[in-house]
């Protein structure tokens, strides 16, 4: 096998024989399958606050996770270094799960599996660049936010980059490696006026070079948007309470899809029949205006991967087509037990975590309506364009997502900005209430973080402008 392109062979002299030894050890007690996940991750973070560079941080994570599967059981252990004895020890620990006396599954010679594409081919990784260049971005953001309005009293700007090398080797003979860049900038502002204080936030990035911070994601643009939100909120009125018609703006409000249906369609919950979506494939779960996909193959996106964290190529997976539920997001274990095809959605936070079925970039396809017509068609409702986080109870199907920038719609016109409010709905039925889909699909600017079972991973979402007939808005104004 040509492992030469992988840092693990170049820098740490891991050989094919080593890999076979570890896998054989992992299957020594009778497991059906084993895999190794080597990870070497470097990250940098810089924070500007009170107009000075407060901190610079570097992080190094190096280790190997060993997984053994025996039927529905998973054994897992990891080593915090690439020391041979420690990896063998981890393999033996993971093997404990199989708990059989006989020698287990056969290890096939790993052969390279390469999807033959690079979704994040960039000339220079941000991690390689001088810190001074990154500091300049933060200073630009700070100046722009303060210049936006004298009521901006605090600005916190942060920059993070990450370079992640992975090598994934399986006992059924697949070896994949990848080099995954990531960069992100955030700007948070506090605005104060007459004893009132409000905050604004904007961020962006992706699997990109430092040049990503131009155009919409220029530090000045990020800062001005953050400042605009904080100033706007100073004049916000109480949000309404009760069910009402809601228009969601394009882009980040796609978090609706992530919470309302995405998590509920992760295969593990459906295999165990703990999801409100279990058994609904082939049934109508949305209005026929809705087609929803999870696509891990969009170049340079935050949720994209050449191969997932189990070494399988990512895909475009249609979750809902014209309102009909098509299928689930699979990892290896669930796909095998459900006798389903792999979708390339096995992901993990790092080498010390077990892979799980997870989303990548999840969005709704554009429709045909003019966004302005959609707003004009609403007599009384809410127009929500920016959101904080969301959460879902996949068993009951109830989900929330919290608007951070929203306006009242009165007689077809956008009027007063309202304070932040949580919207709550039911996953398997909310998309049936979609009565219009705009022609303006937009993906978010590269800020999504998704949590499940204590593991966080980068994701992306997207949405065109949509209208929902009725959803409960959790304000205070009855």
């Amino acid at each position: 096998m040509e492992l030469t392109r992988s840092i693990f062979s170049e820098k740490y002299s891991v050989t094919v024989t080593d890999l076979e030894t570890y896998l054989n050890e992992a299957l020594s007690r009778g497991g059906d399958y084993a895999d190794l996940y080597f990870e070497y991750r470097i990250n940098h973070a810089i924070v500007l606050e009170e107009q000075i560079i407060k901190s610079a941080t570097k992080g190094v994570n190096l280790g190997v996770g060993v997984r053994v599967i025996s039927g529905e059981k998973t054994g897992y252990a990891h080593s915090d270094d690439l020391n041979r004895d420690n990896i063998i020890k981890a393999a033996r620990t993971a093997a404990f799960i199989a708990n059989a006396s006989t020698h287990g599954g056969k290890v096939q010679v790993p052969t390279p599996l390469n999807p033959g594409r690079n979704l994040y081919s960039i000339p220079v990784f941000p991690a390689e660049l001088e810190i001074a260049q990154k500091i300049r971005l933060l200073r630009d953001a700070d100046l722009a936010a303060r210049a936006y309005d004298p009521r901006i009293t605090q600005v916190q700007a942060s920059y993070v980059d990450e370079t992640k090398h992975v090598l994934i080797v399986t006992s059924d003979g697949k070896a994949s490696w990848d080099l995954q860049p990531m960069v992100r900038m955030n700007v948070m502002c506090i605005a104060e006026e007459g004893g009132k204080r409000q905050s604004g936030y904007q961020g962006g990035g992706g699997r990109r070079a430092l040049e990503v911070f131009t155009g919409d994601l220029d530090p000045k643009a990020l800062a001005q948007e953050s400042a605009r939100q904080a100033i706007l909120q100073l004049a916000a009125v109480d949000a309404p309470a009760g069910p009402m018609e809601v228009v969601l703006g394009p882009g980040w409000p796609g978090i609706l899809l992530h919470e309302a249906i995405g998590h509920g369609l992760e295969a593990d919950f459906n295999r165990k029949k703990t999801s409100a979506f279990a058994g609904l494939v082939g049934q109508k779960v949305a209005s026929e205006l809705c087609t929803v996909v999870d696509d891990g193959t969009i170049p340079f996106r935050r949720g994209s991967l050449n191969v997932d964290d189990e070494g399988n190529p990512t895909n475009q997976t249609v979750l809902i087509e014209k309102g009909i539920l098509q299928g689930y997001l699979q990892d290896r274990l669930s796909a095998k037990l459900m006798k389903s095809d792999l979708t390339g959605n096995g992901r993990r936070q790092s080498y010390d975590h077990i892979p799980l079925p997870r989303m990548t970039n999840t969005f709704m396809m554009a429709g045909e309506s003019d966004p302005e017509d959609i707003i004009r068609s609403v007599k009384k409702g809410l127009y929500a364009v920016q959101f904080g986080g969301g959460q879902v109870d996949i068993t009951s199907g109830k989900f929330v997502f919290s608007a951070s920038e929203a306006y009242l719609i009165e007689d077809g016109h956008i009027t007063a900005p309202v304070k932040g409010a949580t919207l709550i709905g039911d996953g398997p039925t909310v998309l049936r209430q979609v009565t219009a889909v705009g022609n303006d699909l937009k993906l978010d600017q590269g800020i999504g973080i998704c949590g499940k079972d204590g593991q966080t991973i980068p994701v992306s979402v997207g949405l065109p402008t949509i209208k929902i007939r009725e959803i409960t808005v959790g304000g205070t104004e009855k």
Binding site: I52, D81, I190, E192, D393, S396, G420
Partner: protein, 448 residues
Amino acid sequence: MPDLQASAQHVIDHARKAGATTADVMIREDNSFSVTVRMGEVETLKEAISRSLMLRVFVGKRTATSHTSDLNDKMVEQLVDETVEMAKLTSEDESGGLPDEAVRRDGFADLQLLDPSWDDLTPAERIDLAVQTEAAALSTDKAITNSEGSSFEYTRSKTALANTRGFNGAYEGTGGALFCVPIAQSKDGMQRDHWMSAARHRKQMESPQEIGKKAAARALRRLGARKVPTGEVAVVFDPLSARSLLGHVFEAVSGSAIYRRSSFLIDQIGASVAADNITIVDDALMPAGLGSSPFDDEGVPTRVTPIIENGVLRNYLHSAYTARKLSGRPTGNGSRAASGVVTIGPTNFYLKAGQYTPDEIISSIKKGLYVVELIGFGVNTVTGDYSRGAVGIWIEDGKFVHPVQEVTIAGNLREMLKNIEMVGNDVTFLGSIAAPTLKVTNMVISGE
């Protein structure tokens, strides 16, 4: 833990050689085991030793931090050199520096953090704890038809901290936890809920039977949940959901939110910010407390800090940095994030028990919602604005009537704290932050 302390000292010595004016380093080693059992079978078993090193250096008044999971000497020395170089590129910050309190000390109070008897449990016995817990839930009622599983987790961790002022200390602690997440089903659909117990000592943990039964009862009582009309009523938070309110108070009194002016509690020391039955403390010295430790992540001796006394705000929580920024003193709440950056963390941050039983509180309500779970992130600690998804039980004339879901509760934390009319006697410790049952006189429920 002479090995970890020696490694920490080596890092400090190297940092000085590399040009650091001052530095501190924390090394943590976690020996952890976890098992998840579902429908009687082991689903996952995980065991590992994890190490992490977190370094902070100062070059004059400039600082940088780093962290690594790779503790190989050569690797660490290279990282120390890079960290010193990085620090030279940051800005001078007058408030920076090691805490004055973190100096050489002999001996620390024994806070009973360690119970070595956990180690006597064989892997089979550990698995059995989870099996028994789930079995107890599944056998409670035939409506418990499924399970997200039960798990047992155990960690024995060592922490060593050293700095250039001669501080070099270490402590070791254990912690076990048992979780149970059963699913109940009826014609109206599925409902899940959970119960757990967490303790540093084996004998403090609830039995598998108790945990399983409680979890099952919690899931069962949610069957048939529905929306309620939008309106303004009394809201009772059970100890689990009340705990999240305390979490918001913790964020609002942390020194970093105060100097950033991003808290609804700024400029209010000495002012009445809550009902006069409210007393909140941060107590790092609680024997065997889940959040107890002899010194914080900067080497500052820990203590008991009154936060709110009978409704009056007394103190903010500080690291060395926020204390200097706000002319206070470090409170022993310096906490290192995984990145190595020092932030503010709670120790045992809790609202002291009141006089009422949960039943007395529920009986006092004519019309209201008893909240058992809150979801979402609709809390703005800058303004105090609060709006979250809630699951609970509807109360009428002092009695539970039916379960409720798909509603939100909204208000403002400032008013919610002032409107806590009754405080329960049932403080429940499941982590660093704890609370008893709390009754808030009125909030807006949004539903139908």
